[in-house]
């Protein structure tokens, strides 16, 4: 074992470097980094929503499995605890409580804010009805409320104002909290952290679970959690769990295979050296260049670095019996160098793509490949004894069959051509356009989300309308104009309702208009005096009303800047009205769209009103992202061809390119035949596939380049074949099991690599070697 001390020491150093480096590196999870720079206003709006929209921070909780009073108690206890955690900007489990300060502010501005402020409300007939209603109220159990507000606000402007806010709530209140059928108590929360910050979202969900546990729920009570953030956190956890299981299984399988092939577990350590060196370097370089590493770049990058497992295998297995390891490394270096250079060339366009996520991925993979190759060339021979590791020979029959494949080259080419024609006739592989299908969130969880959303009346935003203006007043006026134009649609039932910022804070213009419609003090007093006739009110009873209407007429309007004292109003307004660079934006959200065509037609007639069909826009973005990735990949492909041509001559380069291209073609044909829709995950896996496929072809073709006469040539061909088979089996064992996972990203990666690697290997055997190898 002493002979391997250097190897273990090197591994130990690499293993220690990992935690140290990870402490320095900032990992991020913003999916939007992988989406293209928006070209249209709709796309820009959507990206902003995806990044920071209020909808992404929503968390919905349901509690069920107990009697309604118990559920209500748990709901209240949870709301108090969750609110105290400070993780949430808003927690609601029933009709919200308005604090005295806010009530006073809104009461003072009730005539400006309330839709009930109309000239008709102040005619004698209306006033008479109002006074009678006050009298009825004083008799009822709501008397304290009526006494408190009725004499200052007999027309009910304030109550109409606060009721208007909750008019569209679908949830019934029972035992003081929101309660849906079941019974199921409902809570809503808005996290302070962004929806895409999976760590913070996991913490938010954990706060809810802890609060539930601490509310001492009776046996059988269940907590249901849903929301985009919870999804992200749950999905990450599900992927991690899948990956853990699969990687454990596959390490056992790969380990067993390598131990069989090299008669010793040492090969595992040998493979680990270039891989960890490459990963470390990739992490460090990406972090140094971008200031952070994207989680997805790391994940996909590691997938692509799966190629470098092959390098030490090619070195150890490819060593001729009379060579030292150092000599073998020197001999295969030109081929390895060409393989790496071509792979890096293929990745370069990603660096220039302009998507930060894709550029990171490219840089990560390129750095990892180069460093792993250098480690194989220079580090491994220094760490290992000169004779390397013993290699068990392959079964004779298998080698014989495979070595004879080049004789069937013509048939293989015909087969590829036929597959290409069939695929072209079938219209090519279908691409995945539905984002939901790519979501790692299980369907059952998505169904629950839909149900909870519906029960709680939270917007499931399919369409958003938006108006931009230079200032808040302009945006509010725009929203009012749009709401007025869309009002007939609500009345006709084409849309179920419309939420917009001016519902909560009307524009200053509207506020002025309402106040101007109030009667002057003298005429109001005269009307009131006439109306009081026959009713038991004393002459002074409505003095506060007269006085406050007078004050309201000369009051300045309420603006967004005045809302610090009105947290409830702000909480409703903020998602719908916000400042962005160079102006303000108002968002209008239609609910229950029954007639999209009518909505579009009406909205088109409102100048400046943007209609964003979230699903369609997301699909367009995704298609653009996929398209761009494909374009960059094809540029990369051309670069690879150029490099191969330079390294192997035109014919040799073409042969390798044919093996590689044929493998990709067969893979996508098989995927299409299996009914798979091609997603970005398949494409990333195809990049890995292209990398390993090129290695196979290059190393099998290498036989020709260094061909020596007779028996030696045959021996070398067999050795090269043995290395490549080992590489292929290792890759299959590593990625093959992923195909069995249900999480789309893992399934797509696993299936693509499995099918592709097998195809790449067979085609490399058949197409790559020069004719000299046949003999």
């Amino acid at each position: 074992m002493r002979r391997f001390a250097a190897l273990f020491a090197a591994l130990a150093v690499l293993a220690l470097a990992f935690p140290l480096l990870l402490r320095q590196v900032e990992l991020r999870g913003d999916i939007a980094d992988f989406l293209p720079t928006p070209k249209t206003e709709e796309a820009a709006f959507l990206l902003r929503e995806l990044r920071s929209g209020a909808a992404t921070t929503l968390l919905i909780a349901g509690i069920e499995g107990a009697a309604a009073p118990d559920l209500a108690r748990i709901s209240r206890a949870m709301a108090a605890r969750v609110e105290a955690s400070g993780l949430f900007a808003l927690v609601a489990n029933g009709a919200p409580r308005m604090e005295d300060g806010e009530a006073a502010l809104l009461f003072a501005h009730r005539y400006a804010l309330s839709p009930a402020t109309t000239p008709e409300a102040f005619t004698e007939d209306s006033l008479r009805r109002s006074l009678e209603a006050v009298l009825d109220g004083l008799r009822s159990s709501a008397a304290p409320l009526v006494r408190r507000y009725g004499f200052a606000d007999p027309t009910g402007a304030f109550l109409a104002l606060v009721r208007g806010w909750t008019a569209d709530a679908h949830v019934a209140t029972e035992h003081g909290v929101w309660m849906a059928e079941g019974p199921r108590a409902l809570l809503l929360a808005q996290s302070r952290a962004a929806g895409l910050d999976t760590g913070a979202q996991a913490a938010a969900a954990a706060a809810f679970r802890a609060a539930f546990a601490e509310a001492s729920p009776p046996a059988g009570a269940r907590l249901l959690l849903s929301g985009p953030g919870v999804f992200a956190a749950e999905a990450a956890a599900a992927v991690r769990a899948d990956v853990k299981l699969v990687s454990m299984l596959s390490s056992v399988l790969v380990g067993a295979f390598l131990i069989w092939r090299y008669r010793s577990p040492l090969m595992l350590a040998v493979v680990a050296v270039p891989l960890s060196a490459g990963t470390l370097a990739a992490l460090a370089v990406v972090d140094a260049v971008f200031g952070h590493v994207h989680g997805a770049a790391l994940g996909f990058g590691m997938t692509m670095l799966g190629v470098v497992d092959d390098y030490p295998i090619l070195l150890i297995t490819g060593r001729a019996s009379e060579e030292t390891l150092r000599e073998a490394a020197r001999r295969i270096w030109p081929t390895l160098r060409l393989a790496v250079a071509a792979a890096v060339a293929g990745l370069t366009p990603m660096l220039a793509s302009g998507f930060p996520g894709l550029a990171q991925l490219g840089l990560f993979a390129a750095t990892g490949l180069i460093v792993a190759a250098l480690a194989t060339r220079y580090l491994l021979p220094a760490l290992l004894p000169a004779e390397g590791l013993p290699v068990r020979p392959l079964p004779e029959r298998l080698a014989h069959v495979l070595l004879r494949l080049p004789a069937r080259r013509r048939a293989v080419i015909v087969l590829i051509a036929a597959v290409a024609a069939a695929l072209a006739m079938a219209g090519g592989p279908r691409t995945e356009r539905d984002l939901a299908a790519l979501s790692p969130v299980p369907e059952a969880v998505r169904d629950l989300d839909e149900k909870l959303r519906h029960q709680v009346g939270a917007p499931d935003v399919r369409v958003a309308l938006s108006v931009r203006a230079a200032d808040a007043e302009g945006a509010l006026r725009g929203a009012e104009r749009a709401a007025e134009a869309l009002a007939p649609l609500v009345a006709a039932g084409a849309i179920g309702g419309l939420d917009h910022p001016a519902r909560y804070l009307p524009s200053a213009a509207t506020q002025h208009a309402r106040l101007a419609a109030l009667p002057d003090a003298a005429s109001l007093a005269a009307r009131l005096e006439a109306v009081r006739e026959g009713l038991p009110f004393r002459a002074t009873a409505f003095a506060p009303f007269l006085e406050q209407v007078g004050q309201a007429r000369s009051q300045p309007p309420l603006t967004p800047a005045d809302l610090a004292a009105a947290p409830l109003l702000s909480a409703r307004l903020t998602p719908l009205l916000r400042a962005e660079e160079g102006g303000w934006r108002a968002v209008l959200l239609p609910a229950e769209i029954h007639d999209m065509a009518a909505l579009r037609a009406t909205a088109a007639a409102v100048p400046g009103l943007l209609v964003v069909d979230i699903k369609a826009e997301t699909e367009a973005l995704l298609a653009e992202a996929t398209g761009a990735a494909l374009r960059w990949a094809s540029v990369g492909g051309v670069l690879v061809l150029v490099l191969l041509g330079a390294g192997r001559g035109l014919a040799g380069g073409l042969r390798i390119a044919a093996a590689l291209g044929g493998a990709l073609l067969l893979t996508f044909a098989v995927l299409a035949a299996l009914g798979e829709r091609i997603s970005v995950f398949h494409l990333t896996a195809a990049l890995l596939l292209a990398g390993v496929g090129m290695d196979y072809a290059l190393f099998l073709a290498n036989t020709r380049a260094t061909a020596r006469p007779g028996k030696e040539s045959a021996e070398e061909a067999a050795r090269a074949l043995g290395s490549v088979i080992t590489c292929m089996v290792t890759t299959l064992l590593t990625f093959g099991l992923l195909a069995l996972c249900r999480t789309p990203v893992l399934h797509a990666t696993g299936l693509t690599v499995t099918v592709g690697v097998a195809a790449a290997f067979l085609l490399a055997c058949a197409l790559a070697p020069g004719r000299g190898a046949q003999g």
């Binding site: 209500a72 308005m98 008397a143 606060v162 035992h175 003081g176 009110f537 002074t540």
Partner: protein
């Protein structure tokens, strides 16, 4: 909507005496022999004991119905507002005040829930007493008394008892400062196990409810 950080207390059911009045609670309690003796005893000035005995007598009434007439005096009005209706009690914790005229309304406290129905407006609300610390004391003032539950009554109010077993008076002062801001005190008067009057004194104004049994 709760406004001003506080649940606005629905008017406490308040109950006044009529001349014939056998009031709310003791409609026709099946008196045991022992209880008859107890009632016949001269009522010495042993307040706490008397209060306990009264509570025991009230607790023995499992179900009762009564009509009520309520008069509310409000400073802004030049005459009191009058309403009439039916009160119903069922042990252990169901109390309903059904106002029939001039405007129909149902106010039902049962267990932890409070149901408010206003048929003319077509509204029905189910509220949780637990969630409304400002209303609970007002409800318990009469409900805990009907239940003969002194512990609950004292949890929410200071209780001052005076008079005799045959004719008694209880002054309840809410312990909560927030409740006292709206309701200063509630006075209950009764004869034996029957409540005849409930008077609620509020910040300005008061409600007096006279109760007479229907049985």
């Amino acid at each position: 909507m709760k406004v001003g950080g506080r649940e606005l207390p629905p008017n406490p059911p308040s109950f006044p005496v009529t001349k014939e009045g056998r009031g709310f609670g003791g409609g026709s309690p099946p008196l045991t022999f022992c209880r008859r003796i107890l009632l016949a005893l001269p009522l010495a000035a042993q307040g706490p004991d008397l209060l306990r005995e009264l509570m025991a007598a009230l607790a023995a009434v499992r179900e009762s119905r009564a009509t009520f007439t309520e008069e509310r005096e409000i400073p802004e009005l030049d005459r009191p507002l009058t309403s009439r209706g039916v009160l119903a009690w069922r042990a252990p914790d169901r109390m309903e005040k059904h106002t029939i005229e001039p405007v129909e309304e149902r106010f039902l406290a049962e267990g932890d829930s409070l149901v408010l129905e206003h048929p003319a407006r077509g509204s029905r609300e189910v509220l949780a007493l637990d969630a409304m610390p400002e209303i609970r004391p007002v409800v318990e003032a009469i409900r805990a008394t009907l239940a003969g539950d002194l512990a609950t009554l004292r949890e929410h109010h200071e209780v001052a008892f005076s008079g005799s077993r045959a004719r008694w008076r209880m002054v309840l002062t809410p312990r909560s400062v927030r409740v006292r801001a709206a309701v200063q005190r509630i006075i209950l008067e009764g004869e034996g196990a029957a409540i005849l009057v409930m008077e609620t004194q509020m910040r300005d104004g008061r409600a007096r409810m006279a109760i007479s049994s229907t049985r």
